[in-house]
């Protein structure tokens, strides 16, 4: 298969069974270089197994894949020079200090003693762990540990980085730090394969997304494509005068689609709204003299995308689309 855009990952029909279980049942992936590509799916969907194969940790039993143009089986050693793993995929040593972890990896990657120490110090400073450099990693906070984890993965900057659930269990500040680091890596030319169950995270970071369920890619595209593919969003309206809600509901039902009355006695929303129809409906309301306090057009959230694609909800998500709405409004 020849393409004009160089591919960081080019997998076709990748499969792996463990005993009777078909963990990965033929995954096709085409990840362009220089982007963040999200792999989205619930626990047990086959994400981790797919990445372990791509990172040469386990051999596939079906299909093939090339990473940066190198075959993951016959050129596994070359692939290892180009990739690095983080998160639950590959951890740091809890019984060593932060600095020792980085020096260890520096030495293993070919740095001299002094070179490894200098590189470790540079990374410790950059990732804001210098103060804890001499402490054992098992005493680190979650955010610090995650930063060390990422620092350990870029002792030599990889061409392709597997970022596995990088923000699970982190507070919002640490989460933003990790996201910033991911963006900085991409800006410097690294491709990132982001594995996550958090739809919001994929929406924030990824340029492209593959949704995996039961060992297969069931949908692929930009976050926007995916949302568009399950149809339209909802027009959300809040009236100044709750007494006119019934009248407004009738008009929206006619111009947009099915109306949901919300708990707030002044609010209602109509599903099936695209931008044109929403604009028309809002204009109709104001022409009829129904004063509005607020209106917004919401895209469907990735949670809804996931539900529509798989027929079951993604796990570990908060109240659907809360956070996403904040970002969109």
């Amino acid at each position: 298969m020849t393409t004009h855009i160089p591919l960081a990952i080019d997998a076709s029909g990748l499969g792996k069974s463990f005993g009777e279980t078909r963990a990965v049942a033929g995954v096709d992936l085409a990840v362009p270089e220089g982007a963040i590509y999200g792999v989205l799916g619930p626990n047990g969907a086959g994400k981790t197994t797919t990445i372990r194969m791509l990172a040469t940790l386990i051999p596939p039993d079906a299909g093939s894949a090339r990473v940066m143009g190198h075959d993951i089986v016959s050129e596994a050693d070359t692939v290892r020079e180009l990739v690095s793993l983080t998160g639950q995929l590959a951890s740091v040593d809890e019984e060593l200090t932060g600095r020792e972890n980085l020096v260890l990896l520096g030495r293993l990657l070919g740095y001299s003693r002094a070179g490894a120490r200098d590189r470790a110090d540079e990374l410790l400073d950059a990732f804001d762990i210098a103060d804890a450099a001499g402490r054992l990693v098992k005493h680190y906070s979650g955010g610090m540990r995650r930063r060390l984890d990422i620092a350990a993965s870029i002792v030599v900057t990889p061409r392709l980085m597997f970022l596995d659930e990088p923000t699970t269990g982190l507070d919002p500040r640490s989460r933003n730090q990790v996201w910033e680091i991911a963006r900085a890596l991409v800006a410097e030319g690294t491709t990132i394969l982001l594995c996550t169950q958090y739809l919001e995270e994929a929406d924030q970071l990824a340029d492209g997304i593959a949704v995996i369920d039961r060992g297969r890619v069931i949908a692929e595209g930009t976050p926007r494509d995916l949302k568009a593919s399950i149809g339209t969003g909802a027009l959300h309206v809040r009236l100044l005068d709750p007494g006119r809600r019934a009248e407004a509901a009738q008009m929206l039902e006619r111009t947009v689609g099915p109306v949901v009355l919300e708990q707030d006695p002044a609010a209602l929303s109509a599903t099936g709204a695209d931008a044109d129809r929403a604009a028309f409906a809002v204009a109709e309301l104001s022409r009829a003299g129904v004063p509005l306090a607020h209106f917004s057009l919401q895209q469907p959230s990735l949670d809804e995308v996931f539900l529509a694609l798989t027929g079951h909800a993604a796990q570990a998500t908060s109240a659907p689309s809360d956070t996403l709405q904040e970002n969109l409004s």
């Binding site: 050693d77 290892r80 070919g110 990374l123 870029i154 933003n176 680091i181």
Partner: protein, 278 residues
């Protein structure tokens, strides 16, 4: 993308970018250098978690004190005579107990995901295993030295002198290199470090007691004596005793080394295979 709010580039991010962009890739390390680096890692662990070393040395020291003073007179007529008999065997026990920890620490690395980081590096594949063995050998030497020093403090004066004691220690450590691969396989197969520890001691504990470490097998009932005589731990203890006594038993030494080689020949390839395919 959706309209996300991005924090302006903080000083942090600038430093991160510099750290990312300033890496010319050094040449790959050689196999030996990689293995030695893993050996260094093993020693750092001894430094940070000395308790683990304490665990394995306290038990043999306890046995040494208990058996010498409690049973020594009854078994060998006097405590000093019994000390001469049992100390070379307790050296074996002390060091062999330590080998269980090779499997425990390998399993810990596996369950914590550290192994996956190592396996994703472009290094000589057996380096982590051989390197940790190097680190472990430091533990073996410490565990063995502790028991000899305590023995000498209690009045143990071997005829073979210092050289005999060092030779005995070297032989036991060499045997442990072979045996540790058995526990490494256990470490690859079991689910948790504790399970490895339990299974390991369940095997090594009775094997050590059903040997000539504590008692002269001639006093045992026939079938048991037959078993004790062929138990490799008995043979190793006999070899250790002969070296300390300054009259090396070539046969026992040879058999001990052969058993160690056989164990390594079977279990080392098994370990590396499991390590690769896991």
């Amino acid at each position: 993308m959706t309209a996300t709010t991005r924090a302006p580039d903080s000083a942090d991010t600038a430093a991160v970018r510099r750290a990312i962009s300033s890496t010319p890739r050094p040449p790959r390390p050689g196999p030996l250098s990689a293995a030695l680096t893993f050996g260094w890692r093993g020693m750092l662990k001894v430094k940070h978690v000395p308790e683990q070393l304490l665990d394995v040395t306290v038990t043999p020291v306890m046995f040494l004190l208990m058996f010498t003073y409690l049973f020594g007179g009854a078994i060998a007529g006097s405590t000093s005579a019994y000390l001469d008999y049992t100390l070379p065997g307790l050296l074996v026990m002390s060091v062999l107990f330590t080998t269980v920890y090779s499997g425990v620490s390998l399993n810990t690395d596996l369950t914590k995901g550290v192994v996956d980081r190592f396996r994703s590096l472009p290094i000589w594949r057996p380096a982590p295993l051989l390197g940790s063995l190097l680190g472990d050998s430091v533990r073996y030497v410490i565990a063995g030295t502790v028991i000899i020093v305590v023995g000498v403090a209690l009045g143990f004066r071997p005829d073979g002198g210092f050289v005999g004691a060092v030779a005995a220690l070297a032989l036991v450590v060499a045997f442990s290199f072979g045996l540790s691969w058995v526990f490494s396989v256990l470490g690859m197969l079991m689910r948790s470090p504790n399970a490895v520890m339990n299974a390991g001691f369940m095997a090594i504990f009775p094997l050590t007691f059903l040997s000539n470490v504590f008692v002269d097998p001639a006093t045992l009932p026939g079938p048991l004596e037959a078993f004790v005589d062929v138990n490799p731990i008995s043979i190793l203890a006999t070899a250790s005793r002969s070296l300390m006594a300054g009259a090396p038993d070539g046969m026992a030494i040879g058999v001990s080394l052969a058993v160690a080689t056989a164990l390594a020949a079977v279990f080392l390839p098994l370990t590396t295979r499991l390590y690769r395919s896991r």
